[in-house]
């Protein structure tokens, strides 16, 4: 089964995402901020990264930029989960190469559908 890295500074959300994806059968890696996320991605080369945007140390955008600069991580698909309803922020993420974004709050089913789609393509 594909490995998914979740990057999220809110512990409640992180736990719930892990549980939801594990129930769906995925192998899940956890990171509490962008810096940790970047390190895990470089070490484990996950099949997909689901990341928050506003995080301490390194935010989601900066992490994505760093990923795209490394040969080994440049092609890992990234889905942003965000509480930023601002369209310009969403646009900025997509321009950086994020495949999709999901606005918080979201239903688990919706997340799983998107994850399935991204991994299939």
């Amino acid at each position: 089964m594909p490995t998914i890295l979740i990057v999220e500074d809110n512990i409640n959300i992180l736990e719930n995402l892990c549980e939801t994806l594990e129930f769906a059968g995925y192998t899940v890696l956890e990171a509490r901020d962008g810096q940790e996320g970047l390190a895990h991605a470089q070490e484990h080369h996950p099949d997909l990264i689901i990341s928050d945007i506003v995080m301490p140390n390194l935010d989601g955008f900066d992490m994505l930029r760093a990923l795209r600069q490394e040969k080994t991580t440049e092609s890992i698909p990234v889905i942003f989960t965000t509480a930023l309803a601002d369209q310009s922020a969403v646009q900025a993420g997509l321009e950086l190469g994020a495949l999709r974004y999901i606005t918080k709050p979201f239903y688990s089913e919706e997340l799983l559908t998107i994850v399935g789609d991204v991994l299939k393509s």
Binding site: N12, E19, F23, T81, P105, F106, Y107, S108
Partner: protein
């Protein structure tokens, strides 16, 4: 014959000629003069020019130029030029040449009394001079030129022959000639030569007579005669060859048999060139007709003197005066003529100039639209005035002359007072200088006439004292009336503008001169002390000076009449700034459409401007608030989405995976939902509180509160709620009260203490102090917790801003923002010191009694 005064020998010859022609002498002379005039193409040409120049409109500029030219000519010609007063028998003016010719010192002729002249005339010429003057006094209106030759004694005692030409310059009111203008040539050399020749002829005749009477032997006589003749011929030839006159001998066919060198040179030939050639070869075709007539008269035995124009070899006219007589052989047969020729080209030119000048002056004075007059300072009367004075003032010249005091009659009494001073000033002027004054005259009909007088010294006495001045007066009444109207208009405008709150002035562009100013006082300055716009620049506020400079440059470079409008600040004299609006409008232009005057209109607009600035600041503040609000809404929505995400995902899992879940996980999800709902509730409370505080709608009611007791209650409440850190409370002075809003002060203290507990995860001691200082008290809350990173300290009181090191510690990010608002509402302040990892200290200072606002 009254109009002519010819030398006697010519008159005799004319008489003989007239007798031969069976004519009266007058008719004969008229015919001859007509012939001369017909052969006078140069003279005619000059007449036409003179007429043309007079018929054109005259103005003073032309007058100056011509006068300058004529003055120059008069001064430098070798001809005496003078003006003579027939009534006073006195020379009024002569040029310097008279001195050179007659050797007397300057002013000799001016000083000379009425009878003085007779002392220098040759006694033999006195009667004919007397006759000549009579002729002049009766000179007819067609103004002929009179001529006389007489002798005048040179300063060294010798007599000089002067040929005089005269003409009337001005007449008195009775029409009698009063001033005559004259030129005189020194013809002494010519006369002496002719006398010498005549003497030689006489000597020869005398010799013949004496020889015959003494009955000497024919041969001896002949020998003696031949010898004498050779000697005399030699002497004669010498005289002839060196004579200043041309001598020309023609045979009976008018062919040249002899010319002397002077004659040939006069016409541009050598004597040999001319020998054998007929007289007509040396003149124009027209002149030939007259010359043939003349020669015919010689054939008839008439001796004459007349003017004649030859043609120089190079074509130009050579004016001469010729004395010619027929030559006959012993049988009385006509063998030819002898002519004595004097070059008078120069004299003719002067004569033409003089004629032109006389006509010019005459025409000028008649036609001039200005009064030309000569005023005598001794007699206090005008001695000459042209027609214009009658046209302009309405008096006849006779009326003016016969008045007791001419000036008193015509000069306005107010201006009359100035006249003595003015005359005094004229007396100090050098020759050629011009004094000006504007005076009012009273016309005969009683109306006022403004005259611009331009006066120059005219005649001085022996001591050089001015006795007459020449005056040219221009009628400027119309201009003065226009000026008066303008002045009245300006006064009206001034009255209007002086009562305006604005400053209005005119700037003359070339020198930046401020020429008109409606009011002097302006924000404490006296604008009247500024002569130029540059001097005024001191009042401009330095930072805005460029705006003013740019506007001026724009006005002057665009060269159109568009108005520049600018707003800038000026320094008032109290050290403050005032806003003004200035409009620069070009309103006067010169003939090439260049701007010469700009109207500068300054309006004070400080109040207006301040209102505008306040309005702009208000708009700006509104925009900032609006931006803050939308930022707040966005951040708030973000803060709500985060707990909602947990709630939704937990309920999703509980709903779908309940059966597959371990029981403790189920509990955990229920707890999460509950805590997130609690968080959202407090978040909502805080958001509403912030909104109320910012909108200033929170209830605010001051009451006396025992501060120490309140703080103690809050600490006790925290401990009861299971505070994870110990709290130590010290209060130096218990029991004091302060005027506070109970709800808000409770919120402030609770927020600070709960924060201290929340961010002290290690459970270290928290110190709370209350210090009372006169009219304020301090609340100090010090923890030893995680501290606040330096980079987050600046935004600590901003809504939703939480430090990056809060990790999982719950919080809305609104507590401190609310506390700060509440403290400020009590007119207090809050500050903090923090070291990450070591703890934070908050110090709240509040007044015991807030000032009522």
């Amino acid at each position: 014959m009254a109009t002519l005064n010819l030398p006697k020998h010519i008159t005799e010859r004319l008489q003989a000629f007239a007798d031969q022609q069976n004519q009266s002498l007058a008719d004969c002379v008229t015919d001859l003069l007509d012939q001369v005039e017909e052969t006078d193409p140069v003279g005619k040409l000059h007449d036409e020019q003179a007429t043309a120049s007079i018929s054109q409109p005259l103005d003073l500029d032309d007058f100056d130029l011509n006068e300058a030219f004529i003055n120059f000519a008069i001064k430098h010609v070798p001809t005496i030029f003078y003006v003579y007063d027939l009534n006073k028998n006195q020379i009024l003016y002569h040029n310097d040449t008279i001195q050179q010719v007659l050797g007397y010192e300057i002013n000799f002729f001016y000083k000379m009394g009425e009878d003085g002249y007779t002392t220098i005339y040759h006694p033999q010429d006195q009667p004919k001079i007397q006759t000549y003057l009579e002729q002049l006094i009766h000179s007819p209106y067609d103004n002929p030129i009179h001529e006389i030759v007489y002798r005048v004694r040179h300063h060294n005692g010798t007599y000089h022959w002067l040929q005089n030409l005269n003409r009337v310059l001005a007449r008195d009111e009775n029409g009698h000639p009063q001033l005559i203008i004259g030129v005189a040539y020194d013809i002494t050399a010519q006369e002496l030569t002719q006398q010498q020749l005549r003497r030689t002829e006489h000597e020869l005749k005398d010799l013949n007579w004496s020889l015959i009477q003494h009955g000497a032997s024919r041969e001896l006589l002949l020998d003696q005669l031949n010898k004498d003749l050779r000697e005399r011929e030699q002497r004669y030839r010498q005289i002839v060859e060196t004579a200043n006159e041309g001598i020309w001998v023609l045979d009976h066919n008018a062919c040249t048999t002899y010319v002397n060198a002077r004659m040939a040179q006069m016409l541009g030939y050598t004597p040999d060139d001319m020998l054998g050639r007929p007289l007509w070869d040396f003149m124009t075709d027209e002149a030939t007709i007259a010359a043939k007539n003349n020669f015919e008269r010689r054939r008839q035995g008439i001796t004459e003197q007349h003017d004649f124009c030859f043609q120089h070899r190079d074509g130009h006219a050579v004016w001469t005066t010729i004395a010619t007589s027929p030559m006959t052989d012993e049988r009385g047969t006509f063998t030819g003529t002898l002519g004595m020729v004097t070059d008078i080209t120069e004299r003719k030119q002067v004569e033409h100039q003089l004629r032109d000048y006389v006509r010019f002056v005459d025409g000028l004075t008649r036609a001039a639209p200005v009064i030309i007059s000569v005023f005598d300072l001794d007699t206090n009367q005008g001695v000459f005035a042209n027609d214009a004075i009658e046209r302009l003032l309405g008096y006849t010249r006779a009326e003016l002359r016969n008045s007791d005091d001419m000036l008193k009659l015509i000069v306005h009494p107010d201006d009359m007072e100035r006249m003595p001073d003015y005359h005094q000033r004229l007396k100090t002027l050098p020759d050629g200088a011009i004094a000006k004054q504007e005076i009012r005259c009273i016309r005969k009909d009683g109306s006022i006439c403004w005259l611009l007088m331009q006066d120059t010294p005219f005649k001085r006495d022996d001591d050089g004292r001015l006795i007459q001045y020449l005056s040219i007066s221009q009628d400027i009444t119309e201009r003065k009336q226009t000026e008066a109207t303008l002045y009245a208009n300006e006064q009206r405008l001034r009255a209007v503008t002086e009562n305006a709150p604005d400053i209005i002035f005119s700037v003359e562009v070339d020198y930046q001169r401020i020429e008109y100013l409606n009011r002097r006082d302006f924000f404490g300055y006296d604008l009247g002390t500024f002569n130029t716009i540059s001097e005024m620049s001191e009042i401009f506020y330095l930072e805005d000076l460029q705006i003013v400079v740019d506007a001026w440059v724009a006005v002057l470079t665009e060269q159109t009449n568009t108005t520049q409008e600018i707003e800038y600040r000026i320094n008032n004299t109290d050290g403050g700034l005032e806003w003004v609006r200035t409009r620069l409008t070009p309103y006067l232009f010169d003939e090439s459409n260049r701007i010469t005057h700009v109207l500068c209109h300054i309006t004070p607009i400080t109040q207006q401007k301040e209102a505008e600035i306040a309005r702009i600041a208000g708009v700006q503040r509104e925009r900032e608030l609006s931006a803050m609000q939308s930022q707040f809404v966005m951040t708030a929505s973000h803060e709500f989405r985060t707990p909602l995400t947990t709630i939704l995902s937990s309920t999703d899992l509980l709903r779908t995976k309940y059966d597959q879940m371990r029981p403790e996980w189920r509990t955990r999800h229920f707890d999460k939902v509950e805590s997130q709902v609690d968080h959202m509730t407090s978040l909502l409370d805080d958001v509403l509180m912030v909104g109320r505080l910012e909108a200033n709608t929170v209830p605010f009611e001051l009451q006396a509160i025992d501060v120490c007791k309140l703080v103690d209650d809050v600490i006790q409440g925290a401990i009861d709620n299971g505070a994870t850190s110990p709290l130590e409370f010290t209060c130096q002075q218990t029991g004091f009260t302060a005027m506070l809003d109970r709800k808000l002060i409770h919120k402030i203290i609770t927020n600070l203490i709960s924060n201290a507990i929340k961010y002290s995860p290690d459970g270290k001691m928290i110190y709370v102090d209350v210090e009372h200082q006169r009219d304020v008290f301090h609340l100090i809350v010090r923890d030893q917790g995680i501290g606040i990173p330096l980079e987050d300290q600046a935004k600590l009181f901003t809504p939703f801003q939480r430090a990056r090191n809060v990790d999982t510690i719950q919080g809305t990010g609104l507590g401190l923002s609310i506390a700060k608002h509440a403290i400020e509402l009590h007119q207090g302040s809050i500050k903090f010191f923090s070291q990450p990892g070591e703890g934070t200290t908050f110090i709240v200072t509040l007044p015991i009694q807030p000032k009522s606002s």
